[in-house]
């Protein structure tokens, strides 16, 4: 919204609507035309609405409880305090444990890291097999996989509980990692299959003529050529797994609860006085990891969800 003086401020509206029809190509700059005021005004108001909750979280988490009780949630803190953050991290209680969200944070790390790596490894090999080494019936499995992505998780949860229990890993982190690998598979396999299919086939053929096998081509040719898509997959998985709640609550024991589950238990616990500042600090802490991933990754995140969106 630069403030260069409008060239013809007079018949602003009529000209503006006309101008709106030609958003493409060069035209004289009229920064303060009615059209621009409307356009940027609307966008700014919308942006404010989207930013509001983040702002409220930040200011609430930095106020003391007396100030919260007296003031309004939108006012900036008079006295900035970081005590709620410390408390949320190290002292907030869930049930009998009063060691704060840090426990959930480390659980989430221990869940997210192996789940992300394993799900991507498995799915990329799947995608590679589907793209370059298609065998009879492969497409059938792939179709089931993609259709399965639309089945509500609730339908498949209990059978998985039984399978994991039979394997003796129900309630463990290993079990949860497997669950994340399973449910990440449709979208990731699709992502990798499409990407590997788009690579020039000559490359693959040349490697085959040189005598390279399945794994050799995968590790020495496909993998090094596909780093961007691996990054996209990682963004998708890290945010997705970190934000998961349902699988965490169903497939783990309380001592392994991920951060989202613990956060919900802290904030929605019925005992004790509600400390809204601590709650908001805890909420921000839980949202911090995916937010950082989002802000750092920028366009790659958009690419990831776009890839996730065009399934089917």
């Amino acid at each position: 919204m630069s403030d260069t003086v409008a060239l013809n401020p007079g018949p602003a509206l009529a000209a503006a609507t006309r101008a709106g029809v030609e958003p493409r190509g060069a035209k004289p700059r009229r920064a303060l035309s009615g059209r621009n005021i409307m356009l940027y005004g609307t966008l700014a108001v919308a942006a404010l609405y989207y930013l509001l909750p983040l702002y409220v979280m930040v200011v609430t988490s930095m106020k003391g409880m007396p100030e919260i009780r007296l003031g309004n949630i939108f006012s900036p803190p008079l006295e900035v305090t970081f005590e709620p953050w410390v408390k949320a991290w190290a002292q907030a209680c869930t049930g009998l444990n009063c060691d704060g969200l840090s426990r959930g944070f480390w659980n989430s790390v221990r869940i997210t890291v192996p789940s992300t790596l394993i799900s991507i490894l498995v799915a990329s090999v799947n995608g590679y097999a589907l793209a370059n080494w298609k065998f009879k019936g492969a497409d059938l499995f792939f179709t089931i996989l993609i259709v399965g992505a639309f089945i509500p998780y609730q339908v498949m949860i209990y059978p998985i509980v039984i399978v994991l229990r039979e394997m003796g890993i129900y309630g463990t982190l290993t079990g949860l990692v497997i669950v994340h690998t399973i449910f990440g598979m449709p979208i990731l396999t699709l992502l990798f299959r499409n990407y590997f299919s788009s690579l020039p086939e000559e490359l693959f053929k040349a490697a085959r003529i040189d005598g390279a096998g399945f794994w050799q081509i995968y590790f020495r040719i496909m993998l090094p050529m596909s780093l961007p898509i691996f990054v996209v997959a990682m963004i998708l998985q890290i945010t997705g797994i970190w934000n998961d709640f349902l699988f965490g609550v169903v497939f783990t024991r309380p001592e392994y609860y991920p951060m989202t589950v613990q956060l919900n238990n802290i904030v929605n616990s019925v005992q004790g006085v509600k400390e809204y500042n601590v709650n908001m600090a805890a909420t921000l802490l839980t949202g911090a990891v995916p937010l950082i991933v989002y802000f750092v990754s920028g366009r790659l995140f958009v690419r990831g969800i776009a890839a996730g969106a065009v399934k089917g």
Binding site: Y50, A138, F150, G213, P290, Y294
Partner: protein, 300 residues
């Protein structure tokens, strides 16, 4: 570890062996979990399983009980309201934002980052923030009252009649950015010549959008619709965090019904029946779409 293709003429099963071995996780997931698990749940929804699954079949008993349960009826109504409003509003708002973003604006990346960041947050975080903002004692209601409008009432989370709209506000905040992104990608796919032609003909911009661009974007809209819809059916964490289904049972949703009956009330049969109903709902959305999208293409 060895590529099998170069060993003369191997038997059919051994051909492409590495690829088959590598695909075992995919085959297992597809067949055992997705297909097998779904069939298993549907079959066991016809049993009277309580604490443990038991293969004692009782016909449609569980379904009759399900549709007699007030909580299930409320859940379905909520899903219908939440779903209808989410579809309409996220498409309308998402499209408006996308259209605004498509005007060759400055700071496009900044605006996109702002509109999309809620999508990176979990439903738990979203639900808790909006629980706080909508808190009548401290949130929007109290702020407006302190400005002088003392009779102002806005307490959706504590009013059973409108609680689902409180959830809707949070859900829209989280999800419209994604819709905007998808539709913006669709808008960018429209040929510039279309715009030039409509400009030459002197058609106003809004008419171009309404009668030319939107119909051209039909596939994008349908894909977006399917994505939103399959997300709606799954809505669970948002309600758990924001209202825990309350006040009373006023904001219950089917996914929560399933979880509670399976893992809390130890009434597996009910849980299976409810989850099968969810599956049916999704099938009603997906099957016509899949038919249009893929069935049609094959025939052409």
């Amino acid at each position: 570890m060895t590529g099998q293709a170069h060993t003369g003429r191997p038997s059919k099963l051994l051909r492409n062996l590495s690829s088959k071995i590598a695909s075992i996780p995919m085959m297992l997931t597809a067949v055992v979990i997705f297909l097998g698990g779904t069939i298993w749940t549907v079959v066991y929804s016809f049993t009277n399983s309580k604490l443990l699954p038991r293969a004692k079949f009782v016909g449609f008993d569980q379904y009759e009980r399900l549709w007699d349960a007030p909580r299930w009826i409320v859940s379905i109504q909520n899903l219908a309201i939440y779903g209808a409003f989410t579809l309409v509003f996220s498409l309308v708002i998402g499209f408006l934002l996308a259209a605004l973003m498509d005007q060759k604006i400055r700071f496009e990346n900044t605006f996109r980052t702002i509109f999309l960041y809620p999508f990176a947050l979990s439903f738990i975080v979203t639900g808790l923030v909006w629980q706080w903002i909508l808190n009548p004692e401290f949130g929007v209601q109290s702020v407006v009252r302190s400005l002088g409008w003392t009779s102002f009432t806005f307490d959706p989370l504590y009013n059973a009649d409108i609680v689902i709209y409180g959830v809707l506000i949070a859900g829209l905040w989280q999800g419209t950015g994604l819709v905007m992104c998808l539709l913006l990608a669709g808008l960018r796919g429209i040929d510039e010549d279309i715009w030039k032609a409509s400009r030459v003909d002197g058609i106003p911009m809004w008419k171009t959008y309404l009668f030319i661009v939107i119909p051209m974007m039909r596939p994008v809209f349908i894909t977006t619709l399917v994505i939103i819809a399959s997300g709606i059916v799954k809505v669970y964490d948002l309600v758990v965090a924001q209202t825990s289904g309350g006040p009373g049972i006023a904001s219950e949703v089917p996914a929560k019904y399933v979880y509670d009956y399976m893992f809390q009330a130890q009434n597996l049969g009910q849980g299976f029946a409810a989850s099968t109903m969810m599956l049916v709902t999704v099938a009603i959305i997906i099957v016509p779409w899949a038919y249009l999208e893929f069935g049609g293409r094959k025939r052409v």
